[in-house]
């Protein structure tokens, strides 16, 4: 089967699987969310510290919460059919607009964090596998274990205390200097300064995982016949490690990164909160606490679409890495 036909098969299969999955996710999420006690009007009344029957009724009518559940679901699906994600009671604006304003921030943070984690994790894993059982392996293993078991918010807070409060090198939060009106390179530098700490914090956990996965996979591949052949040909040990071992060890890693792409969207909530980063994870978290169901449904829907897209990319990537996969 040629490559083009294979890709088409993958895309067609994914599309067939994706549509019912997405509809199922929407309906299931809708009823799960409605199981939570209280609604957006309760939250706003709670934060206001006062309410009357009339003001509660006004809010519920405005948010469409006075309708029976099936009607609310139907309204939501009807909106979706028109490519609208509905309206947010908590933020008083269309959900689509809200999510689109947050998405670039999350993609930037995720992109930087995931790239950082991949580069550092794979490099560390390769080093560990190359010197398996020797002291560089031992030291890095301990370090990876430390990163793996330390909660992200704690690393984040310590990073803030060290780099923002004590040293004053980097800002303590936010995604850009507010009201600075920067353009071009100056703006890019400003954003880079802001993204460094949260991305590094978010990356630590994944560095640990990727390093350990890479190490394990490489050690397994090292025992295979073709590696012995490569070594017997007299290739340089590092060339064997990188060209022959690492490439074949990347298979389990790509699967894992594909899965992490999905979890990063929601998993960044803690880091985004600590660093006051206006991204989707924090939006989802705030939406739960505010019972802002349309926002939460929107984020969940988008996340599921992203996971599906990520899976397609992983399928394609694996087909390229290993021609035996079809």
């Amino acid at each position: 089967m040629d490559r083009r036909a294979r890709w088409q098969t993958i895309l067609r299969r994914t599309a067939w699987q994706a549509l019912p999955t997405v509809v199922g996710i929407v309906v299931l999420n809708f009823f799960l969310l409605k199981l939570m006690p209280g609604d957006a009007a309760d939250v706003i009344a709670g934060e206001s510290g006062s309410a009357t029957k009339e003001s509660m009724a006004l809010l519920r009518a405005k948010f469409g919460l006075d309708q029976p559940l099936p009607v609310q679901l139907w309204n939501y699906l009807e909106h979706l059919a028109h490519f609208s994600l509905g309206y947010s009671p908590r933020y008083d604006m269309p959900v689509m607009q809200l999510i689109l304003s947050r998405l670039p921030n999350t993609l930037l943070l995720m992109g930087v964090a995931l790239s950082l984690a991949l580069v550092v994790g794979v490099a560390l894993g390769a080093v560990m596998a190359h010197w398996a059982g020797k002291w560089p392996d031992r030291v890095l293993s301990v370090l990876a274990l430390l990163f793996y078991s330390t909660p992200g918010f704690w690393i984040g807070l310590l990073a803030i205390i060290l780099f923002a409060v004590r040293l004053g090198w980097l800002p303590s939060g936010g995604n850009a200097t507010i009201g600075a009106n920067l353009h071009g390179l100056a703006y890019a530098a400003d954003v880079a300064k802001h993204v460094l700490l949260p991305a590094a914090t978010l990356a630590t956990f994944f560095v640990a995982i990727y390093a350990r996965i890479t190490r394990a996979a490489m050690i397994e591949v090292q025992r295979l016949d073709f590696v012995r052949t490569a070594q017997a040909k007299g290739l340089h040990p590092w060339r064997v490690t990188v060209r022959h071992v690492l490439r074949n060890a990347l298979m389990p890693l790509t699967t894992l990164v594909g899965l992490h792409f999905g979890t990063l969207l929601g998993g960044a909530a803690v880091t985004e909160t600590v660093f006051n980063w206006p991204g989707l994870g924090r939006l989802a978290l705030d939406a739960v606490l505010a019972r802002d169901f349309s926002v939460l449904l929107g984020v969940l829907l988008l996340s599921s679409l992203l996971v599906i897209a990520a899976n397609v990319v992983v399928d394609l990537l694996q087909a390229w890495l290993d021609p035996r996969v079809s």
């Binding site: 923002a164 409060v165 936010g174």
Partner: protein
């Protein structure tokens, strides 16, 4: 007992700062009128904490604390208030009340323009009062007696009442009762008016931008009616949800100012030792929070007054004051807090006496069982800040000593509100309420039998129903004579102190944290809900 007043507390923190080797609280943040006029420096950007992020920027139909704070910089009220809650001019320059208390005449400030250039007139005032009465969560009761607002000329508004409303003159601040532009609000549904998020007002600051999840930016209104003010060029509200990140932002100088306990109280001693940070506890007369324990009077055990009295004797309010509130609280055994002129200082907290508590429980027919437990209760707490969780932990340990086994139940805010106020599936709760600027608005709702309204948060949660309390509350809410009104409220406090539907514990003292470069942020009873026209920054 030695109860610290607000003023003494300020002096005390100043002294503590002095002994810590930093300059004592300088009185740059002094009372209005005592400042040197030449000292104020124009310019600069003020970074203020806002948390949680407000849902809308106009407080006409939502009164979440952050909304009041941001709304009052752009939209103004008829009046402002000095530290003793005496009204001072804002959009109204003069006012008078007819002897029968049914006619309020306001002379309005001439030559005031909305930020879009339209002139401000009495029609805006009449329209806004009607709107407040129709859609504001508290306005419905505050303005209930308003029959109509007359506008004999563009600079006079006359509010006509059917019954006296002695609290009305305290309710006209910018945050509580904003005056909105009629020409932008008259058509369409005011709740979905786009100007709720892009406010147009008469105030010292104009709306510039709102980046959801990050910041709200206001800029100086160069055409403000109070010429020369405001002094600062820009006002930036930063949304920072994480408490530790807020502390860090104050340390680095990313935040200049934050109100309503902006950092955890445990962090406060460390932060106030820093040379660039100071605290302020004035400016919360419009909130007056109160920490209390609400009993469900429909509960088979708790409906017995002796059981409630036993619980009152088993809980030491001084531990709540010192340990739960870290000393940032005044004892308040009554629902009208010590800061209010209607507070009854004669009432002391129920004596802390576990033996008396046990005797009362025995008398109520609830002896200890074989395992030493008399009965079991579940305690819910308001998940707002962390104070009420600490209070519920203390309640559990205090009641265990007299044989009441308490299970503390955690849930998030909407779950808590639904459980307590809609489903009424609770035994007793640790909760905080704001008693606001007047008992008729902030306290009556908690005890009035006619405000037992399942489904409405912060209504009469215990299901308390006392003809005597009802009579006193209703009489006080229309009483114009201040001394008679005080007397009625004192009788009311004695009644509910005895009946104990709610065990009132302490009035938490809110703290404002500020960078020393910020001056005159708290110049009135409204505190950080004032309009910031007087704020200036030193280098």
């Amino acid at each position: 007992m030695a109860r610290l007043t607000r003023r003494e507390f300020l002096i005390a923190t100043g002294a503590a700062a002095a002994t810590a080797g930093v300059p004592a609280l300088s009185r740059a943040q002094g009372a209005p009128g005592t400042r040197g006029a030449g000292a104020r420096k124009p310019g600069g950007t003020l970074n203020v904490l806002i948390n949680p992020e407000p849902p809308v920027l106009v407080s006409i139909f939502q009164t979440t604390g952050p909304t009041l704070a941001v709304s009052s910089k752009v939209l103004e009220g008829l009046l402002a208030y000095d530290f003793d809650m005496r009204p001072t001019p804002q959009l109204a320059t003069a006012w008078s009340i007819s002897p029968d208390g049914l006619r309020y005449t306001f002379k309005l400030r001439p030559n005031v323009r909305w930020h879009d250039g339209q002139p401000f007139t009495a029609a805006d005032v009449a329209f806004s009062i009607d709107l407040l009465k129709a859609i504001h969560p508290r306005g419905h009761s505050t303005f209930a007696n308003v029959t109509k607002v007359e506008t004999p000329d563009p600079h006079t508004a006359i509010i006509q009442l059917s019954k006296p409303a002695p609290f009305l003159l305290k309710a006209l601040s910018a945050g509580e009762s904003p005056i909105v532009p009629r020409h932008l609000y008259a058509s369409g549904d005011p709740l979905s008016n786009p100007h709720n998020n892009v406010p147009v007002g008469t105030g010292p600051f104009r709306f510039k931008s709102w980046t959801r999840g990050a910041s709200i930016v206001y800029e100086r209104n160069p055409d403000y009616w109070d010429a020369g003010k405001p002094y600062i060029d820009a006002l930036v509200y930063k949304v920072i949800p994480d408490p530790a990140a807020r502390s860090a932002a104050f340390e680095t100088g990313a935040l200049d100012l934050g109100g309503e306990n902006p950092v955890p109280l445990t962090d406060l001693p460390r932060l106030t030792k820093l040379p660039h940070l100071v605290t302020e506890t004035r400016g919360y007369r419009f909130l007056e929070p109160l920490s209390e324990i609400d009993f469900n009077l429909d509960h088979p055990i708790l409906k017995d007054q002796r059981v409630r009295q036993a619980i009152a004797h088993a809980i030491n309010p001084q531990i709540v004051q010192k340990t739960v509130a870290y000393g940032f609280a005044d004892l308040s055994p009554t629902p009208i807090t010590p800061a209010s002129p209607y507070h009854d200082a004669q009432l002391a907290p129920y004596a802390f006496d576990p033996h008396a508590a046990e005797a009362l429980l025995d008398a109520a027919g609830k002896p200890r069982g074989a395992d030493g437990v008399r009965f079991r209760l579940t305690h819910d707490y308001l998940p707002y800040g962390d104070m009420y969780q600490r209070q519920s932990d203390y309640v559990k340990s205090a009641l265990a000593r007299v044989g009441i086994d308490v299970t503390v139940r955690s849930q998030d805010l909407p779950s808590f509100l639904k459980r307590v106020y809609t489903d009424r599936q609770f035994d007793f709760t640790s909760i905080g309420v704001n008693t606001l600027f007047d008992p008729a608005v902030g306290v009556q709702r908690l005890y009035w039998s006619k405000n037992f309204r399942p489904g409405v948060p912060f209504s009469n949660a215990p299901h308390y129903s006392s003809p005597q309390a009802d009579r006193l509350l209703e009489a006080a809410s229309v009483e114009l004579d201040e001394s008679r009104r005080t007397d009625l409220y004192k009788q009311f406090q004695q009644t509910v102190y005895r009946d104990l539907p709610i065990l009132n514990l302490v009035a938490p003292r809110m703290v404002t944290l500020a960078n020393r470069r910020v001056h005159d942020h708290t110049v009135s009873a409204q505190g950080l809900e004032g309009n910031f026209a007087d704020v200036w920054l030193s280098a």
